[in-house]
Structure formats: C-alpha cells, structure tokens
Symmetry: C2
Subunit: 313 residues, 2 copies
C-alpha cells in the first residue's frame, strides 16, 4: 500500500514518505525509552483500495499499550461521507499517521496524535481539492501543571512560525473537540491542538502547509518524551492504578461515543483492530465514583476544563 | 416521580406500579442469592419532568456490579426523536425498568433486561398513541448450551400463551439487534427476545399487551437465577477473569457504539450514571487477541451467531 513513487514530486508522495519515516522514528524512540517493549508490525490491505501498517506495543516496561499506525487508502467516497465533508467529488485518497500511547505508570499521561492528508478527484483523476488535518493532545491522570505547559509550549513553538494566532486558534479547537458532552462537558484531558480542512490557496501555500504539518509532527517527541522521562520512575501503587483505570473509562467513552474518526472508521468498514488500538489495556467503571475532596485525584478534575497553559496571543 | 395514582385505572398507572414492585422483587432476590452485596438506592429528578430510582450493587460475593433501574419521565418530545420514532405528537410519557447484572464468576453470564411503556399526547393531553417494548438477553463468557436453552425456553413459555410464533419473531429480532457490526457481526451473546412498538388495537388488546409485558417481566428471575445457582461455585482463576474482561470489552463496544437506548439517553440529557451502570466493572482491551484454537474460550465464539436454542415454531 505504501510504495512511494521514487521520484517524489507531489504533496501526496512527500507526505506519505514523511509519515512512513516518522512512524519508524517514533517507534524506535519509544522502544529505546521503554527498554523492554517492542512494536510488532501488522500490514493490512483494504479491499476497496490501499491499506496500512499498524505497529503495536503491549506490556512494555514504561508503555503498557501503544499503537503507531499509518494508512493510505483510496477509492470511491461513500455518498454519506461526501455530504459530511460537504463535497461532491467521488474519488478520494487519504493517508495519515495515528498514535495513542497508554503508559503503565499513572503519573505519565496518555497521549494521542494524528496527522492526515486528503485529496479528492474528478472522474478524469484530476485533483480537485486537498487539505491537511491533525493534532496532538495529552490526557493526564495526575496533574503537573509544568508538564501541561511544556506540552503546549512545544506545540506553540512548532506552530508560531506559520502564523500569529494559529496556536491559539488550534488550541481552542482542541478544547472544543475533546469533550465528554454526556459528562457535564468534562474535557478528555488538558488539550493540545486540533485542526482540519487546511486547504492550500496556491502551490506556495501547499508547500507551506506541508511544512506546517511536518513541524507539528516533528514536535511530537519533544513535546511528550520529556514528560515521560520526568515521571517514569515516580512510585505508584494500587490506588493510583485504580484511579487510572477509572479515568481510562472516560477515554473509552469519548472515543466510542463522540470521536468522529473512530466512528467513521468503524462504520466504513475500516480495520477494527487498528482503529480500536486506541482503547486502554485496563479499564474500570464504578457507579457514580467521586474522589475524596482535597485528594490529588480530585485535583485533576479542576484542570479538565479549558485554560491557558502558555502565554497566548 | 413515581407516585402512582391510588385509584389505578390506566395502563400507565398499572405498568408503573408493576415495575416498581418488580424492581423490589428482583433486588431482594438477588441480594438473597448474593448473601453479601446490597443494592444502594439513588433517586433522581429530571429538570424537564419526571425522574427515576436507580438501585446499584457493587462488590457483592456473586454479583460484581449490577443495576436495576426504574424511571418515569414526561414532557416535550424533541423533534429529532419525533422523526426517529416517526410520529408528530410532541408531548410524551415513558417509563420502564432496565437492568444489567455483571457477576464476578466468569462462568455465570451477564444478563440484561428492559421493559418499557410509552405514551404520546396531543395538545389537549389526550392520549394519541402508546406502545410497549423490551426484552431480555444473556451474555456468557463460557458456553453451557443447556443454560442457553433454559434461558430461551423460559422466555418462550412466558410468551407462547400470547400467540403462536411470537417467541420466534422476538428471538430473531433480538439476534438482529445485539450485534457488533464492526466485529464481523459477532453477536453480543446468545440472545433472548427483543420487541418494540407493540401497539394495542383496542382496549382488550391493551390489557393483553400489559399482561404479556408482565409475563416476560415475571420470567426474568426464573430464566436467570437457576443459571446463577448452577454456576456460582464453579472454580475460576486469573485466566478466566482475563477472558471475561476481554469479552466485557465487546459489551462496552456494543453499548457505546450501537445501543440505541444508551445513545438516546446520553444525547437527550438523561442521567449519565444511571445509563452507564450497564458498563462492566473491570474491562480489558488487547490488540487483536484470539483465544487458542480448541480452548473453552475459542468454543464460545462458535456460539456467537444466531442459532435455535429451543424447538421453534
């Protein structure tokens, strides 16, 4: 599925080549940090066109479960999806990298990121439309404000060169998106950035958007890894694991009830195991559970609403 | 919310009185079997009209988590829901009992049941429409065909007096409904019965439908309890618990992705904790997990497709 044209000329080939390398870099780096877990690889084909490579780690020393998946699919765009996107072209190409990492230590946050590129064609296979989308966001179980600030600041620095105010715009879109509406609008975590339908206005702009996307992709490891290293030896016990499992329940609720990417994938015959790699390894649901007032667990809840983590402009 | 008119004359009052008693009977009986766990009670009010009584057991000896909830709500029917149901009356009343029981021992199946009644009114508060709906279904982790047959046979015997072929019809509707479409159409369990929009044609028929509904409600304990008693002392270890947790993941997936009742409740500002009492206490997701061929775990999967459990006609 992922054979890139040797003479890379198009944005499509450039981006596909980029995410293929990024998948390798991220997996290699996470394996180094973990020291025990390795990513197994599953390649899959899509009957209707294209396929993907899923790389999954389970039972690492640091990372209890994680998936770093790339896919590149093409074919006919189902009519309901044409309506959703608001286009009437029927041939499409889509590729991207999606990752979710669930560390074992409850003091290390879960992280999610996705970077994607989409093209639409007319019946003569001429490209009629294209756009980038993506984002990264962090879901802590215990709050360290300096970690949240580091994550946001790293993303901000990767975005700022591409336009004033862009970080703030995409940060707010992230705050709006990752919300459990059925849980009194509780945020899934402390946010990050989220953007979609970034369409180039001309060739120069297309090159700039590709660079923007690569800049955010390259910021993933610098945004997340220092937090992992800082918290990975933090002692924890049974109580912290239980709290982590309860909070992971909220992660499941968001992904299965609200997440458009997950539901779209499941309802369009995507590869279920690759889509649901995002679900945590251990989860717990208790009826109407509330942490003790004043506890570190209760403190987290105060942070699960939009707030500024860096000086914004 | 649940003050029943002392002069019970309407179907609405009859049914509300019935489910109120049934909740008490079921909770009392399950507590007796458990010997340790007790149901705590939470009453709640709905801003827009009505409310409910949730009864929840956690960490029993036999029942790890269970909810037996009743509710009676009324008010304005949101327009999207009018469209879904296919009616254009705007005032409604709905009441019902919903239960989900997750036993600790993996050799005892999880069970779900729901019995509900719905009314619609015109602007002068005249009843314009009404119907019954409901069902019961069983979700085993290990298959004992005789348990599945007992469950189905008990339901069949409760239904048969109300019409030839009814059991088969409602059993097939159940098979069609409780399916994880995104898991290659794997059934949630071994089924049971499922029915909806049972509208009386006249007063006599209304009485008959009420009796039908009570007959199925009364069949719940005789259908489920003998299975609990038969399997509750079956020895189990860590491996059986892990398999139970993995299968419970499928239960979560069905309830959050596909179940109309759950999604309707969550999206119409229902009481989240009462709705999500259905989620299991411990859950596990492993990437692309398959039990060893020939194992008792693999044997279950052969049964997760529609099959006849009793002689049907």
């Amino acid at each position: 599925m992922l054979a890139v044209d040797k003479n890379i000329t198009t944005t499509r080939d450039h981006f596909l080549s980029y995410i293929t390398e990024l998948q390798e870099t991220i997996c290699k780096t996470l394996e180094d940090v973990d020291g025990k877990g390795v990513f197994r690889q599953d390649s899959w084909e899509r009957t209707e066109g294209g396929g993907g490579i899923s790389r999954i780690m389970e039972n690492g020393r640091v990372f209890e479960k994680g998936g770093v998946n790339i896919s590149a699919v093409h074919g006919e765009l189902p009519i309901p999806l044409q309506d959703t996107i608001g286009v009437n072209e029927s041939r499409f190409f889509a590729c991207g990298l999606s990752l979710v990492i669930h560390p074992l230590n409850p003091y290390i946050p879960t992280v999610h990121a996705n970077w994607r590129y989409f093209e639409l064609y007319d019946n003569q296979e001429n490209r009629k439309d294209c756009w980038f989308g993506g984002g990264s966001d962090l879901t802590p179980y215990y709050i360290f404000p300096e970690d949240a600030t580091h994550f946001h600041l790293t993303l901000k620095e990767a975005i700022e060169p591409f336009g004033n105010g862009l970080y703030l715009k995409y940060k707010r879109q992230c705050d709006e998106y990752f919300v459990n509406l059925h849980r009194e609008k509780e945020a899934r975590g402390i946010g990050g950035v989220f953007y979609d339908y970034l369409r180039p206005v001309d060739e120069n702009d297309e090159q700039k958007l590709l660079s923007f996307q690569q800049s955010i992709g390259n910021a993933f490891l610098p945004a997340y890894l220092p937090i992992v290293r800082k918290r990975m030896e933090h002692p924890f016990g049974e109580n912290e694991l239980i709290w982590q499992e309860i909070r992971r329940g909220r992660y499941v609720e968001f992904n299965l009830i609200h997440d458009r990417g997950t539901l779209f994938g499941l309802k369009t015959n995507g590869r279920t195991e690759s889509i649901l790699m995002s679900l945590p390894p251990r989860v717990r649901w208790r009826y109407d559970y509330h942490p003790a007032p004043g506890s570190p667990e209760a403190a987290l809840l105060e942070y699960l609403k939009p707030r500024d983590w860096v000086n914004v402009r």
